[in-house]
Symmetry: C2
Subunit: 564 residues, 2 copies
């Protein structure tokens, strides 16, 4: 490709909003452009990268025995109603009606469609297992889209679905896919960590995320140094040590407490430890239910865990006004005597303390010696606590905190979908049995962004060869026509030798700008043809990630690059 013909150019000017390296460089180097928030154009350079990433995933999936197919983007809404996902996906689901009034979901994931498809065949035990996958545009009406390709509202996803006769057979596939996924990301230059995670609205009992460690990632996880444990903070379990559980229960008393509204204010005023205080957080869910999360004062609430035990889909903090509307008081909320319509969700850490203190639902009045069961009865009880660095996991090992980008995930679905959709196969005895299922996803756009996050420097992208749009960036320098003729010949020769080249053939652009563009675009090899290089006996060749260059004879250039 000649740079003068390429659609999409590098640009020096870049909005200060583009903070992430992937967003900034993919924009500046001319790989992508934003349409509206969360929806992007791929320019020709970006498209080549996307195709390469897709091809690698496809190769590894095919090798694993999975079969590529394709479902429509619009899913009949009645299928999503069968599995109750019209409810559970809620606001992220986009819906559209056709001229006949039929409703469709813009596919976010395709479990229902794949089960629907399987149901069109008389599948027997003989046909199992099978794993079908697709690359298709997915839609999620995210509340927040992040800049660039990291969190999109419209994106390309590789989603695979496996169908099995039983759990045992599924587990083999699940283990296989763990390896396939690691291999895929490894080929793409990404080291992934596999962490237990929350299944969101996918359903099923367990799942794992593939995470590339990165400061800009939004996946927070906890792990042990020996590698025996890694889990997303939304599911990470930890030991909640017993505090003063041996104490005798004292009488509940009300005391005047003209204090501020924070936990620290409570500690200072009562001169009692933080862990002995009850932390109360009032939420409102998408159905306008009031949910009071209570937890030991030294811990924090994890909203995903809270959603899971309350079956809420979306949560927001109640306003001061809403809290007062309940006959309570901000900063003084208490499960003791709270309005009966409030769902009180208690973290099980409250079982590790006695004679707690906290608000009374009245301004400047606190309660002392609050005891669970005696003074209040939670509507729900379980683990809603946020695991933190330094806590111990259930095996007593210290947890470390990590942060990264989720590039893929794998889910056990079990009978979740086959039950709801009444999807059967015929077993050896001619009986109908439910499928046992799994599903497996990779976000293509996010994977590309992650590669750029991991492979860049101050001057631009430093593509790993496997994902680079071209292998070499050929630059002709100067104004001399001879140089350009020579470069053109080299360009043609390299193409003939199967080497992908971007040739900067611009005559009216200075050397500095050409070099800066080459660094920004980040192809693995830079090849410069100049009067100087020709005098020295060839072209000047430099790896993007190296400072050193060397002169390579023109005749040997193809071989040189092909061997690298």
């Amino acid at each position: 490709m000649k740079y003068s013909k390429l659609f999409g150019r590098t640009t020096k000017t870049v909005s200060s909003d583009l903070k992430l390296a992937s967003n900034k460089y993919l924009y500046q180097a001319g790989f992508i452009r934003e349409s509206v928030a969360g929806r992007y154009y791929y320019l020709p350079l970006g498209m080549i990268v996307r195709d390469k990433v897709v091809k690698i995933i496809e190769e590894e999936m095919d090798k694993s025995g999975a079969q590529k197919m394709l479902a429509p983007v619009l899913h009949p809404l009645e299928l999503w109603e069968k599995t109750n996902r019209t409810e559970s996906v809620s606001f992220e689901l986009m819906k559209v009606k056709d001229r006949n009034g039929s409703e469709f979901a813009l596919g976010g994931t395709a479990e229902e469609m794949m089960v629907d498809l399987a149901q069109k065949f008389n599948i027997s035990y003989n046909d199992l297992p099978f794993h079908i996958y697709q690359f298709s545009t997915k839609f999620r009406d995210e509340l927040r889209a992040r800049g660039g390709l990291l969190r999109l509202r419209e994106f390309l996803m590789k989603d695979g679905y496996s169908f099995h006769a039983d759990e045992e057979d599924f587990k083999k596939e699940y283990e296989k896919m763990k390896k396939v996924y690691s291999d895929i990301f490894k080929r793409l230059g990404l080291v992934t960590l596999m962490v237990e995670s929350d299944n969101g609205y996918i359903g099923g009992e367990y799942c794992h995320e593939f995470i590339v460690e990165s400061e800009v990632g939004e996946s927070r996880f906890l792990y042990t140094e020996d590698g025996s444990y890694a889990a997303h903070e939304d599911v990470a379990k930890f030991l909640k040590e017993e505090k003063n559980i041996e104490e005798k229960e004292q009488k509940l008393i009300e005391v005047k407490a003209p204090r501020g509204n924070t936990m620290e204010d409570g500690v200072k005023f009562h001169k009692l430890p933080l862990w002995r205080q009850i932390k109360d957080v009032m939420f409102i869910d998408e159905k306008c239910r009031f949910i009071l999360a209570i937890i030991r004062g030294d811990l924090n609430v994890n909203e995903t865990k809270l959603k899971n035990i309350t079956k809420a889909v979306e949560l927001r903090h109640a306003t001061d006004e809403e809290i007062r509307g309940l006959g309570s008081e901000p900063g003084f909320i208490s499960p003791v005597g709270i309005d009966k319509k409030v769902i009180v969700a208690a973290d099980d850490s409250l079982r590790t303390i006695k004679n707690a203190y906290g608000g009374s639902n009245k301004k400047d009045v606190d309660l002392l010696n609050i005891n669970i069961d005696r003074d209040y009865k939670p509507s729900l009880e379980g683990d809603i606590a946020m695991a933190e660095q330094g806590f111990k996991n259930e095996q007593g090992k210290e947890l470390l905190a990590g942060k990264g980008i989720e590039v893929g995930n794998i889910f056990q679905l079990g009978y979740h979908y086959s039950e709801k959709m009444k999807a059967f196969f015929t077993d050896k005895n001619g009986k109908e049995k439910l499928y046992y299922m799994g599903c497996y996803g990779i976000g293509i756009d996010r994977t590309i962004a992650t590669i750029v996050e991991k492979y860049n420097d101050d001057n631009g992208i430093v593509w790993p060869e496997v994902a680079a749009p071209f292998k070499a960036h050929l630059i002709a320098l100067g104004k001399d026509e001879k140089i350009y003729k020579q470069a053109e010949k080299i360009y043609e020769d390299l193409l003939k030798q199967g080497i992908e080249v971007l040739y900067d053939d611009r005559v009216d652009v200075m050397a500095g700008e050409k070099f800066a563009d080459a660094d920004l675009i980040g192809l693995p090899w830079r090849v410069v043809v100049s009067e100087k290089s020709l005098k020295a006996g060839g072209v000047e060749v430099k790896r993007r990630d190296s400072k050193k260059s060397e002169i390579v004879g023109i005749k040997n250039l193809g071989e040189y690059l092909n061997l690298k």
Copy 2:
């Protein structure tokens, strides 16, 4: 691929609704499954075909200098409003709102998006021309979807858009794309005719369809035997010879006419020629406007031409009740004295006759000696007549009628989009100028269906090798384990030699069924391993489109197939 592992099987039972060969065979052979009308799953076999077709189109487009990229599927609706396509596409446009209330069109074509993208760059004359294209899912809320892949509501389209400094430069690209398209279809085994056509809601001044002749096609066109003329019936022009134009205008008179409602009833009753009668057809458009199409009695109205001169988007026939509501009478409608709110659209053939006859808007009363301008004044006048076989074109050459499937189309857009979207480039003098544009589309699914329509026989599909999912169908016969071991070895060997093989490894299936499946799926080569073939010295090799088979030694098989 082993048949026993393949997802998606052949089936003998097929609904009698599947009348088209492409629909029936692609269903029976396990290439596709319907989700709901107009929306299809591609099964693994179909997916391979789709990928091959896409690859060929991509190769030819790239060779032509066009550059692949990708726009989002959801187009901000405000872009479509700028070009007024929210109106002109009307019912075929699907719209969706996101959680923030932003509206999007589900892309049908992407002119607005590409112009929007071009506007994100400071494009100068130096950067022109460029041609960018994509493969992307398109949505059209068609009133009727046809069975199978011929007319879908969701489909894959290759759509390209070229940007030029002026008309002259555009014309070069337009001529180039004519050749590129012919070449693409030729590679896919399809002979295409290029016919002038209507641009529908795309805009611009002229366009061409690429049509594969076929009895099941919906594109009707007229052409001359010498190849000098070919046009879709929606745009085909023909000579409207003068009839009794020399006659003196006679006095308009009303006569009792107790006759039936058809044109023939009028001819019989008055004993006057059909061409002298005025044909009146009352339509109602999407805006509830009454449109009366009038035309010489021996001609028929072409609704697309009528839409074009009336700027209607959708037309339907008025009911008897609606006609009476206008103070007229079914079978006796007349432009003479019709309700003033009716738009009278006259075909220019009415200028070729004098003293016409027809209804009077009153039951059983006709008018004689009706003359245009004197007795009625059309609101609009132009060509709304259907060209038919036997008519003469404007050069006096006889028209022949053809029928076929539209697999691609190319459009001159001119300044249509750049004007409406105020899209400029900077010319040599630093002045802003509008782009001159063209666009170019190929329907992938319909192309696949067309290949099957052209390449099939009574037993199934007969794939041209270029689009076949595999080159060879390897069949092991009998129950003898040795045969299967031998076949397995051949399978592995062929794969190693780069030959794509579908291996029917089923042990419990009879020879007849295996042969029938091979014919149905339609791979170019059938290779049978049986006791008989081994005794004869190898495997039995037969082309799908031939009756003759021959024995080929196992060692030579790969070479034999690779040379074919």
